[in-house]
């Protein structure tokens, strides 16, 4: 076995890092199950801590939260018919009817087991695909990298928005914000208006805290779902029976494969993967008529897909530095704070750390299974936690998190400003995820574009002569055209 792999495994298995994973899992299950709180909110809560903790521990903590947040979402979906996270919406379709039949424990046991199956499948994908993809990515030149980042942005605009124009606008505004500060090639100050705070640009973590947390805090003011409902369902036996496990193997496999694949694509995320896998599992089932009435296969498919998405999303993040969703974007930020840049070079320069992340992901899935199964009866009591305590705590953590990043009040004001932008975007039905991705990738996009054009002396054919670059540009164009055509058809249908 490769020395880096052994080192990575040892690092991830150190007691302190295992403790980090376990704490992360506990937190993830908690925030995941509280309707209205997203995994991103949970991450924001612990983000300031990660600045001062060791990178291994921070990543273990964040990965634990990421993985278990998905599982936590299914608890409230099953017990209350209120999905804790958007990804758990499909789980409620069959989970809640099962709970109403008095089989809440069975439904939750199945969802935890299926989630574990999906997580382990995506771990294998991550373990085998990530190093290979990193090797391929090492051959990329500036033009290829530009086209790849462009593809990441194009696909996220296509998937994340109801309207293509609004998705693209969100990304362009993100790119506009990225140009504030020193330019990445020559270091010239741009759009700083003489303000020294703006010279280093706007930190995307500050922007992210504002974009996600402030709109959520505002919407929670009138949202009655959060913390008002206690878990009243009787759980019964949680441990799944062998027969049940045999019955869900097909739907869990479908969910895992779909989840891992869709997780790799930036912006697709858990909710889409869960609904697609639910639909496929129904088609492949011997008893499709049971779907929607309390089928365990209907619980297993979306839950395995949700958890498989996490490993899938880590693949482009680790190998290409492209985040698949807000959580992986924060993970990139947490790594950058510690001077570790995710991308193909991570597997060359810090392969031990890269494998450490992969094995921390494995541990997160194992802990998720163990803690969720053993602590479920206690954990569901969290559903009664009042929002009167939670929301003010999140508000304070937003301030502390933004301040602690660079010990600067300026970042706190920037966070609030982005909160207002987030509210405006919500009012306009404009998705924030493309903007977030643009904030993360914008500098790279500009740098690769300018380096590529400088090397070709201004000849833009460089983007079409390289096979990799051409491939990604074609994919970008196709993804945009497909969404455009779909939108046009939808509008024509409505008008007729």
């Amino acid at each position: 076995m490769n020395m880096d792999i052994i080192q990575g495994l040892t690092q991830a298995s150190m007691p302190i890092n295992l403790m980090g994973t376990a704490i992360g899992v506990l937190m993830g299950l908690t925030v995941g199950m509280i309707p209205g709180l997203t995994i991103s909110s949970g991450i924001i809560l612990i983000l300031p801590l990660t600045f001062v903790l060791e990178p291994d521990f921070s990543i273990a903590l964040l990965l634990g939260l990421y993985v278990s947040g998905m599982t936590g979402g299914s608890f409230s979906a099953t017990l209350l018919n209120i999905p804790g996270t958007p990804s758990a919406s499909a789980t409620a379709i069959d989970g809640y009817p099962l709970a109403k039949k008095g089989e809440a424990g069975r439904a939750l046991g199945i969802s935890i087991s299926a989630g574990f199956f999906g997580g382990m499948f995506s771990f294998l994908c991550l373990y085998f695909i990530a190093p290979l993809l990193a090797e391929v990515a090492l051959r990329f030149h500036a033009a290829d990298l530009f086209s790849l980042v462009l593809f990441g942005l194009a696909i996220i605009c296509s998937f994340a928005a109801k309207s293509l124009i609004k998705g693209l606008l969100s990304a362009v505004i993100g790119l506009l914000i990225v140009t504030v500060g020193q330019d990445p090639v020559m270091g010239t100050a741009r759009f700083t208006f003489g303000n020294a705070n703006l010279l280093s640009g706007i930190h995307f973590l500050t922007a992210l805290i504002g974009l996600f947390a402030i709109p959520q805090l505002v919407s929670s003011l009138t949202d009655k779902d959060i913390g008002t409902a206690g878990a009243r369902q009787k759980l019964g036996s949680i441990l799944p029976k062998i027969l049940d496990l045999m019955r869900i193997r097909r739907s869990a496999s479908i969910g895992s494969a779909i989840g891992a694949f869709l997780g790799i694509l930036p912006g697709v995320g858990g909710p889409i993967a869960a609904f697609i896998s639910y639909d496929y599992a129904k088609k492949a089932s011997k008893k499709p008529e049971e779907f929607g009435k309390g089928s365990i296969e209907g619980v297993a498919a979306p839950e395995s897909a949700n958890n498989a998405v996490t490993g899938g999303a880590l693949i482009p993040m680790m190998t290409l530095g492209i985040p698949g969703d807000p959580v992986t974007a924060i993970l990139i930020g947490a790594l950058l704070v510690h001077g570790l840049a995710p991308g193909p070079l991570l597997f060359i320069e810090r392969a031990d750390f890269a494998y450490g992340v992969i094995f921390s992901f494995l541990w997160a899935n194992i802990f998720n299974l163990v803690i969720a199964m053993s602590g479920l009866r206690i954990l569901v009591k969290v559903l009664a936690m009042p929002k009167t305590l939670l929301m003010p705590a999140i508000a304070l953590f937003c301030v502390v998190g933004s301040y602690a990043l660079r010990n600067s009040f300026f970042d706190v004001y920037v966070m609030f400003f982005f909160g207002l932008i987030g509210l405006a975007m919500k009012w306009l039905d404009m998705p924030v995820v493309p903007m977030l991705l643009a904030l993360v990738l914008g500098k790279q996009l500009e740098e690769h574009l300018r380096v590529a054009l400088t090397s070709s002396k201004g000849d833009i054919s460089i983007f079409f002569t390289s096979p990799f670059s051409l491939f990604f540009i074609c994919l970008s164009v196709i993804s945009i055209i497909l969404v455009f055509v779909a939108e046009h058809r939808k509008r024509s249908k409505v008008s007729t």
């Binding site: 801590l49 001062v52 506009l176 759009f191 305590l389 003010p392 502390v400 301040y403």
Partner: protein, 160 residues
């Protein structure tokens, strides 16, 4: 006609024009055929203007939402109150420091989110910011802002 899209489209057009104007002030690179610092901002300006024009046009062509379907305008007063509270908190932060500014802010937020227990509000709004302040100062070595306490003590001196 969908007003929201038109307003957003026009606002973004103005933003694009202003951004383009500021881009004209950026230095050009002297080497021929190589992109300078203003190259990327010009691309953004172009994209922003085209997309915001498209959004405006889309807003003009689309039918308005039927009354009652758009719920974004409802229950706005708690939101404004929350944002106002946040602004006051942020403005007071440099002067009073994290601890003294956070206690009333936390209490106000608890009430804002529907807390009715006075003792509970008082104890948590005191306890939580103090816990956070000490946690960051002593455990994570991140001293949260203490504010201009000198100013406070001088005020006290003047008064006494």
């Amino acid at each position: 006609m969908r007003k929201k899209n038109i307003i957003a489209g026009l606002f973004l057009t103005v933003l694009g024009l202003a951004y383009g104007y500021l881009t004209t002030g950026l230095p050009e690179r002297s080497l021929p055929n190589t992109p300078g610092p203003s190259f990327f901002p010009w691309i953004i300006t172009l994209c922003l203007l085209v997309l915001s024009a498209s959004l405006t046009l889309q807003g003009l062509r689309m039918e308005a939402k039927t009354p009652g379907t758009d719920k974004t305008g409802q229950h706005q007063s708690p939101a404004y109150f929350f944002l106002g509270l946040f602004v006051v908190f942020l403005a007071s932060l440099p002067f009073f420091g994290f601890l003294f500014a956070s206690i009333p802010f936390f209490a106000a937020l608890m009430l804002c989110y529907g807390e009715v227990g006075k003792l509970r509000t008082a104890s948590i709004s005191f306890g939580f910011p103090i816990f956070l302040f000490l946690l960051f100062r002593d455990v994570f070595n991140i001293p949260l802002p203490r504010g201009n306490l000198d100013m406070l003590s001088s005020v006290v001196n003047v008064l006494t």
